[in-house]
Amino acid sequence: MPSFTITIPTVLSQGSFTGPVGGLYTYAVNGGSTDFTQFMSQSASDWNLSGIGHVTFDTLPPGFNIIAGTISWDITVIATGATSHFTITDPNGNIANDTTGLSGLTYAPTDCNGIFVTHAICGNFFGDKIEMRANLQISGQYVIIPPFFDYDLEEDGENVAVGDTITITSGTNPATDLNLLHLTLSWPCGIIVPITQTPTLLTFLVPESCDDAGLMSLTATGDGFQFSGPVVLGTMTVLLTNGSGIYRLVTGKRNDTYYRSQRDGTTIDIKIPNPTAKTGFVGG
């Protein structure tokens, strides 16, 4: 599972959390000194904002589906004439109080809706003002749901061979289409060197090193422009390219041996394809 780090800033404001969540994956961290300003309307009492500080992650970058992680925050309390206390509660009921600096709670993998931040502000007298600045971070693991990013992988699930051209195409909408220019492709059998790489078109040849590699997953690694970390774009079965030649049947031999495509005298052993026999219908 690919790992990730996404920073989602949330700016506290009176009565609710708002912030520029959404769009791309990286954001400015600080909201500024006026991010949260609350003037006490009561004296010597706590002001509980519980329930209204529901930070959601619905606007996470498109295609990301968080399955596990840690929510952390960095809140700075700038109190003038008042004492500020705050509480952060995650969906599992875990609570952190009055923590400043980077800290965290385990993010509940079953709930992607977000967390509740409850503020308790203690003022000394009427007219005290409190300012808070908060950054929330999610770090952990995610998957990208491939269909969310539109792209077309030619040969997905098909048989290919060395020298075949694999083509990936995408649209131009940055919110929903993979930007192919910011991908690095890889698979276990060898290095992929693109022939063409534009935001909407990426082509490469199946390299010699992949001859008869079998089922291969084609992985794209983002450079952070759209996402970071690897994601599987599709699978292909890489067949023996050119095992042609002169062979003999060998009694008792339990596999087939072929010349390798490189024609360098080396060979490759392959299992005999699915020996099968199906009798007539019993009772038929």
Binding site: D212, L239, L240, T241, N242, G243, S244, G245, I246, Y247, R248, L249, V250, T251, G252, K253, R254, N255, D256, T257, Y258, Y259, R263, D264, G265, T267, I270, I272, P273, N274, P275, T276, A277, K278, T279, G280, F281, V282, G283, G284
Partner: protein, 504 residues
């Protein structure tokens, strides 16, 4: 019925694939479907044998289109065609053993296949290809190509037959000797390293004197590098000479051979006309270049070639014991033209059977020239394809007193007529699902040691018929095999080693 009442079904033998009728009709002891399995000599079955490589060399051959058994003077070998589809070029190699490969012996553009027959240790090779004629694939000899011969020692194949010597020479009376006095015409016949005798050339008129021998000088050498001898030929005394140098009967002059292609003199040759017994006149009628065909075989020690580019119904037959001496006048057999090409020919019990895809006729050597041989129609519904007659063991020939023949009906035994039901009766549906237009990919060998009929199919798969329980339609057991590559060709090497050649 309770489980207690259930009678177990015991299957004690396995009869291979049954592909005939509906699946409900498949006998219990047969397979409605199978792949890559094989019955042994008994009733059981298991996984087919694995493939091993046949070349232990740094750069093994690839893209194998055709192999044939090639028995040479010193051992059994293979002759192999590798076809480069990118270049549309076929190259023929001589596979001697795992580590020894000669060639390419011959490389020809457009040669996608070739016909072959061994003769006295030599290999006769005829390049052909497949042509689309109104959607029908027709195999016939390549245009402007010829029959070739390979001597078996790794030297490139050469064009069979040969052109006559040309030029002029000087003829004078030699030392005291004897001739019948009068007008003679002298000439030379070149002989190649395969024994081919060319048409007489360098024809020169000279009047001999009775008390003298005849001497020749400035004798041209042949431009053909394969010429190894030159023989003097002469007419008997001509009472009158009309100026036509070729219009008379020529004979080989005894003891008048130059045993090289270098010497330019031959002196003091004495002979009487009565010594002129060995007729050379027929050499004027022979092809100097034999057109390529799609069919090659031997019959009564004669080379038989058929289906040239220009005439798909013509059969060329050589003189007996002289495979490259084919008369343009009387060495021809004509198969009744019907728009279909001759696809195969094979001797069986002293009869030459010739085939089209759905017709069979026979010719019988009556001791006269081939053009006089009687034609008998054998079957007007069944024939075969270009490689559709099984060869036996590593002999490179086909006959074991019967032929095994593939045609549109199936795989049949042939003993002068097609025996019904065909051997492939149990897999009739499987066989008839094959693409008829690609039957050129069918090549069959009969491996009596294994008791297998093994063949390549238009699907490029391999089909094996195991006849260890009997060579009849009910007892033979059929098994299709698949591989990572497609196989085009099959042969047997060293008695019982089955060779498969394939390409992508």
């Amino acid at each position: 019925m309770t489980l207690r009442d259930h009678q177990p079904v015991v299957i004690e033998k396995f009869g291979g694939l049954w592909a005939r009728g509906s699946k409900e009709e498949v006998p219990l002891d047969h397979f409605q479907d199978c792949i890559n399995v094989l019955a042994g000599t008994g009733q059981s079955f298991g996984t087919r044998p694995g493939l091993g490589i046949s070349q232990d060399v740094a750069v093994p051959l690839s893209d194998i289109r055709r192999t044939y058994n090639y028995p040479t003077q010193t051992g059994n070998t293979l002759i192999v065609l590798a076809y480069d589809a990118d270049q549309d070029e076929g190259s023929i190699y001589h596979y001697v053993n795992e580590t020894t490969l000669f060639g390419p012996l011959l490389t020809i553009e457009g040669m996608t296949d070739f016909a072959f027959t061994p003769y006295a240790g030599r290999a006769y090779i005829s390049p052909f290809s497949t042509f689309d004629v109104g959607g029908l694939n027709v195999e016939k000899g390549l245009e402007d190509e010829f029959l070739y011969v390979y001597l078996g020692a790794g030297v490139a194949a050469q064009k069979a037959a040969g052109i006559p010597m040309s030029g002029s020479m000087t003829v004078v009376n030699g030392a005291a000797g004897h001739t019948d006095p009068g007008i003679h015409i002298f000439g030379f016949v070149s002989e190649t390293d395969t024994g081919f005798l060319s048409e007489p050339g360098v024809l020169t008129q000279f009047t001999t004197a009775s008390a003298f021998s005849v001497s020749f000088s400035a004798i041209p050498t042949s431009g053909d590098p394969h010429v190894v001898k030159r023989h003097l030929v002469a007419t008997k005394v001509l009472p009158t000479f009309n100026g036509d140098l070729t219009g008379y009967q020529f004979f080989f002059v005894p003891n008048a051979t130059i045993n090289d292609n270098v010497t330019t003199v031959l002196v003091n040759i004495s002979f009487y006309d009565a010594d002129l017994l060995d007729d050379a006149s027929h050499l004027f009628d022979n092809f100097s270049e034999i057109p390529a065909g799609a069919v090659l075989t031997l019959y009564h020690n004669r080379l038989v070639l058929a289906t040239t580019f220009d005439d798909i119904s013509l059969i060329l037959v050589s003189a007996q014991g002289e495979p490259e001496a084919i008369s343009e006048l009387d060495g021809l057999l004509v198969y009744p033209p019907d728009g279909n090409p001759i696809t195969n020919a094979q001797e069986l019990r002293d009869v030459l059977y010739t085939f089209k895809r759905s017709k069979t006729v026979s010719f019988t050597d009556n001791g006269d020239v081939p053009s006089s041989w009687p034609l008998v129609t054998v079957d007007t519904g069944l024939g075969t394809c270009v490689h559709g007659i099984a060869t036996v063991l590593d002999s490179g020939s086909s006959s074991v007193d019967y032929l095994i023949i593939a045609n549109y009906q199936g795989i049949s035994l042939f003993n002068g007529r097609f025996i019904s039901p065909e051997l492939s009766w149990k897999i009739e549906d499987y066989w008839k699902a094959l693409d008829r237009n690609e039957f050129r990919f069918i090549q069959i060998v009969n491996a009596p040691i294994q008791k297998w009929i093994i063949m390549t199919l238009p699907t490029r798969m391999v089909l094996v018929g195991n006849y260890s329980l009997g060579m009849d339609p009910k007892q033979i057991r059929w098994f299709p095999w698949s591989f990572e590559i497609g196989f085009n060709t099959v042969a047997i090497w060293e008695i019982d080693e089955i060779i498969l050649g394939g390409e992508l």
